[in-house]
């Protein structure tokens, strides 16, 4: 409740208790608005609430910036017990362990991206501490989000390098946390493929933002650097050209379609969530290129607002999601942007 209200606290007909909660838990701008509202209203009740806030010991209300990172990196030391041993906390110096530092920096880059680009305070928009575990299991070639934290394996060293090597993979995992907090898209079928695609979208945007790259300059690859030199492939996926990221005697060929004509019906991979995500991935790429400039500013914003849109159901289909992005493009920007987003979906075979 607080969160939904806090987002719209610019209009001040909110009761003081709510304003107080916004001031305590909102982001910098929301807090400022809430405090200003509390302070300028001259009813006795509001004045009292204001003084309580100013005196609140809880979060050093007026001094501390709200969007503060709280990162912890753990080491599972080759075991599968989570979270493992604490090896680096917020503000601590770099360690000698490259995976630890990559995880720490990746968490930071992702946090900064969401804070700067969308004014989002961490995964839950309420400053959730960010936790990651590295060296999970033995020669483990995967990374996942367990609902609370990120988990990274070292790779088998044969086909895969350590999974912290790609910033977009770290951001991909964190974005699963954002989706879990907002749209809660079920991890199955089309909704699951949307869930995956959103993680690739923001994974790629975090990397683009960190490199200050425009849509046209970006590589649109997910997981570049993950493969060892012996693998014939550049990355796990390509948003620009789904289906072309790898073609290797051992790994096989990148199975991602770029349009609905290639949609794969399967019972494996939770109904092909990492396969059919190629379709919305490519739609995002096309929209971002058409809208030009930095992808996070227009295309990313439209996708982000759609992810937070109450009308988006956890069981959303590609088409439902697509329609929502088209509406949000019109609402946020205008007719030109609306047309660009609709064309992008149309090009991948989804009529909006």
């Amino acid at each position: 409740m607080t969160k939904a209200w806090a987002r719209h606290c610019g209009c001040s007909i909110l009761p003081p208790e709510l304003l107080r909660r916004i001031a305590l838990r909102g982001n910098a701008r929301q807090r400022e608005t809430a405090l200003a509202t509390l302070a300028t209203d001259h009813t006795l009740r509001l004045a009292r609430a204001t003084y309580q806030l100013l005196a609140s010991p809880q979060r050093g209300l007026l001094g501390v910036p709200v969007a503060a990172k709280r990162r912890t990196v753990y080491d599972a030391q080759g075991h599968e017990t989570l979270p493992g041993k604490v090896v680096r906390t917020e503000g601590a110096r770099a360690t000698r362990d490259v995976a630890v530092n990559e995880a720490y920096d990746g968490l930071g880059a992702t946090f900064d991206f969401f804070a700067d680009a969308y004014d989002r305070n961490s995964i839950d928009d309420e400053g959730l501490p960010l936790d990651a575990t590295v060296h999970y299991a033995s020669r483990y070639d995967n990374a996942f989000w367990n609902g609370r934290q990120m988990v990274f394996g070292d790779g088998d060293g044969d086909l895969f390098n350590r999974f912290t090597i790609s910033l977009d993979v770290i951001a991909h995992e964190l974005a699963h946390g954002v989706t879990g907090d907002e749209a809660r898209l079920v991890y199955l079928g089309q909704a699951g493929a949307l869930n995956e695609s959103i993680s690739d979208v923001f994974g790629s945007l975090v990397k683009q933002y960190a490199r200050r790259q425009t849509a046209a300059a970006a590589d649109w690859l997910i997981g570049e650097g993950l493969f060892t030199a012996r693998v014939h492939g550049v990355a796990l996926r390509s948003m620009k050209a789904p289906g072309t990221a790898f073609d290797d005697p051992l790994l096989g060929r990148d199975p991602q379609p770029s349009t609905m004509a290639g949609y794969v019906r399967t019972s494996t991979d939770n109904g092909g969530v990492h396969i059919n995500s190629g379709i919305p991935n490519h739609a995002f790429y096309l929209a971002a290129i058409a809208l030009g400039g930095n992808a996070w500013q227009k295309a990313g914003r439209i996708w982000y607002e759609t992810l937070r849109d109450r009308r988006l159901k956890p069981t959303a289909t590609f088409r439902q999601f697509a329609r929502q992005t088209v509406q949000n493009a019109a609402q946020l920007f205008g007719a030109t942007e609306r047309q660009a987003v609709a064309s992008a979906w149309n090009e991948v075979g989804i009529k909006t």
Binding site: E80, D141, F144, H172, G192, R253, T268, N270
Partner: protein, 105 residues
């Protein structure tokens, strides 16, 4: 005893890795076969539920293990992270064997 091991899910789909691993324990050197039998026994494999009650976590894997041991025969799917340490050990062993088989190919 025959073990079929299949890995599904994960951060990306690799069609080449979808091939299940089959282990014929009777064809293995004795210490290896005994080690596998001990892991299966410790995990109390034939008493495990066939399907996990665990949620589908993003990018996490599911492992399907089918074991045929004469009168006893069972197929179990588990999702990671695996809570039971004994089962975790069995899956880790099978995962390692699958990787070795892959390297040998």
């Amino acid at each position: 005893m025959r073990i079929d091991f299949r890995v599904e899910g994960g951060l990306a789909v690799f069609p080449g890795l979808a091939q299940p691993l089959t282990i014929d324990c009777d064809a293995l050197p004795r210490p290896e076969s005994e080690r596998l039998r001990a892991l299966v026994e410790r995990a109390d494999f034939f008493a495990l539920p066939a399907r996990p009650r665990a949620p589908r976590l993003p990018d996490a894997r599911a492992y399907t293990i089918a074991i045929d041991d004469g009168p006893q025969c069972r197929t179990v799917t588990v999702r990671e992270p695996i809570a039971d340490p004994a089962l975790r050990e069995l899956v880790a062993e099978l995962r390692e064997r699958a990787a070795s088989a892959r390297r040998a190919r």
